[in-house]
Symmetry: C2
Subunit: 436 residues, 2 copies
């Protein structure tokens, strides 16, 4: 096991040379730095900067895609803009089985990753009413969603969730909607990176406020069913994945196959649109998105001019995963619970060595163990902590880049391996000895 | 063989019921009508409305994708935003072999169909200079590119190519650039649907004008190498596919795998950016596209927030096709020359029955036979002709929807089958007898 800390002067010089601001370093920049340090010191790292799947994808999906490409010879056929009938139906049934929601197949739109779904949903929200062009983010969150808002030339404002939950959350959103021209509001639940999860009463309260102010909701379900305090894995049986769509109509839900199914490489997600909302017309949409109705604008004004549909193979792959999850022959939760166990061990080890959780409670409940958690160390701001941790062979991005108002780091558990338990414990022990 | 015309009254009522304006019917609407007519009269149609591949995709691509998905288990790994090293290198070598252009791998960007490449290129052109927000289209063209401009809220103007070629073209573009705030100019060559092809002296002239006025060029090579008057099929040997990038730097070239490789279903194209242009900085880009340099803005501000990269499988598929074409083990041109033969027969049959070609010459040369041609019939405008043809079992979209100023139809040869030669000849003969 390599001794830590590594040579501070050398690493600090490397950071200087890259021109890297450690408080604001992106995932990609942090990754570059870590690769260089790993090479320079011939060591391994505890890598927590990437929010990528650390598990293998279900083999049934790859096999189904391969079979289709070889046997059905569909590679020469443009996919329908609105998605393949197979995936639309599978998505609809998945919603029924695991959310208890009725979203008909025509309102289930395959997207090139949930990234494309968020991108189009933000555009429709931001331009549906000429008098409102601001997107409200419940933060912290996924930094790229803010880039999407920038892409459109729209405005955004941020509400920090840390000390604003329950009725406070509802009241604060209401105040912001009165004071700003808010067209849409976006969040993910479970939250990246705080892993706090909005509860049913909060979703109900938000829905009431959004409807009152005519605000579209964009509910990013990147981590669908990954609140491991609940067992969401049984089809057609409660408990069901919470969703604001139970309380309001004007919602886009984006589903990702990247985390729950570890299918990130094939870039296939789904956008779900409640049917009443899908047929609602907003004349302001027509000029940019070709059609005034939400569904038409999403498909013909959103999917078509950006990618002309989703590749055939990945649609088959995701359809296969959804169908097998619904019929019970495959359980993605069996795999992803690995993240829960890793998070529990890692958090315990950090807490034993002087660290605190930045987002430490989920209202009145302990925080769930999941894909991310957040850490701070006394007397250090985000940038200092990120740099000090590099000296000890541990990498993470700062909370600053997630839109959080807090000082600290986002830790992703996905790439942590069980054979690194000992290294993590040793490095954190050394870190703490050197800093207390 | 079914007698034609079918019952005019019935068909006319169907059109009325759909609320379809035959002069402006989209491909999708025309397709819907034809499906209904086919069912109502239990007949087959000569379908010329779709610009989709009518050939099978190369099996090597499907096999390579299938092998990678099963053996390499990459489905859980996010593709790099800038594309896989394999496809970037294969694209670079393809450019060298068939265009004699040096585009290094880092300047070859995989996209989700060339649709995504055009979409991002139009955005970068339209926002690179705050004083210019108009896109000039050399028309007729692909209607969706105009929807892309609408998506951004940019403006567009159109220049009709029919009687504007050679020095006239250069002078007219120069005039438009003086009179309008033109930020970028887009066209495809071969042209959809006129199948006219800009010659080297025209490209050189346009480059001079664009450079003079600081206009970005967007050269859509959807029909790469499909000017069948030339043999572009020999790697590293002239003649080479013409490109404006031989004469100027500020060019985006978009390459499609849909037509040359019949790989439309997997949605994988390439954007090519000359290296000097790739590193050029335009500060106005930063706010929407994150980076001021063209390459950074394209990848981190364009690809990342829209789809977070291109699926892994399709990148392998296209890389396989490009490599095999470069090493000579596969020739896409052997297949696509089928379109040439179909076009020659179909055009002859139309001309023998009173039709004319709308775009009938390519400057001083006869028009090439390719994927599309354009037709008119004396005394009928676009909408009338489109409807009359339906009565005789032949479907096509009007030139009106392609941005053309001419009256007539776009005919796509791709779905025509050799066993339909006789039906086409009979139906056109009846059409002509009834209308002369």
């Amino acid at each position: 096991m390599k001794e830590v800390p590594f040579d501070r002067k050398v690493i600090h010089a490397m950071i200087q040379e890259m021109g890297l601001d450690m408080a604001l370093g992106s995932i990609r920049e942090m990754n570059q730095l870590v690769n260089d340090v790993v090479k320079r010191f011939d060591t391994e790292f505890i890598r927590m900067e990437f929010g990528v799947p650390g598990l293998k994808a279900g083999r049934i999906a790859a096999e189904a895609e391969a079979k289709m490409l070889i046997e059905d010879e569909v590679a020469n056929t443009y996919p329908p803009f609105q998605g393949t009938p197979e995936l639309k139906s599978a998505g609809s049934e998945f919603c029924k089985a695991f959310m208890d929601m009725d979203i008909p197949p025509e309102c289930v739109i395959p997207t090139v990753g949930s990234m494309q779904g968020c991108f189009i949903a933000l555009g429709l929200a931001g331009f549906h009413n000429p008098e409102k062009s601001t997107i409200l983010f419940l933060d912290p969150g996924f930094p790229v969603n803010k880039k999407q808002v920038d892409f459109y030339g729209l405005n955004s404002i941020s509400l920090e969730l840390k000390d604003c939950r329950g009725d406070d959350l509802k009241n604060e959103v209401d105040r912001l909607c009165r004071e700003h021209p808010i067209a849409g509001c976006m969040w993910s639940s479970p939250n990246n990176p705080a892993w706090i999860i909005l509860s049913e009463d909060e979703l109900e309260g938000l829905a009431e406020v959004f409807d009152k102010h005519g605000v579209f909701a964009i509910e990013d379900m990147a981590y669908f069913g990954m609140d491991f305090r609940q067992d969401y894995s049984k089809p057609y049986e409660p408990p069901y994945q919470p969703t604001i769509a139970r309380y309001m109509e004007r919602v886009f839900i984006t589903l990702s196959s990247s985390k729950l199914f570890s299918y990130a490489g094939q870039r296939c997600g789904l956008a779900l649109i409640p049917p009443k909302f899908a047929s609602q017309k907003f004349p302001a949409l027509q000029s940019r998105f070709t059609k005034p109705d939400i569904l038409g604008a999403f498909v013909h004004g959103g999917i078509y001019p950006t990618t002309s549909g989703v590749p055939q193979g990945p649609q088959r792959g995701l359809a296969t995963l959804l169908k097998a999850t619904v019929d019970g022959s495959y359980s993605p939760w069996e795999s992803v619970r690995t993240y829960q166990h890793r998070a529990a061990f890692m958090k315990k080890t950090f807490l034993e060595n002087g660290f605190s959780l930045v987002y430490d409670r989920d209202r009145d409940k302990p925080l769930a163990d999941g894909f991310y958690f957040t850490i701070s160390y006394p007397g250090m701001n985000s940038g200092q902590l990120a740099e000090e941790m590099i000296y000890y062979g541990i990498s993470a991005i700062t909370l600053d880049v997630t839109g959080s108002t807090q000082q600290g780091l986002r830790a992703c558990v996905s790439l942590f391996r069980e054979d690194q338990f000992e290294i993590l414990a040793y490095r954190l022990k050394r870190f703490h000895e050197d800093h207390q």
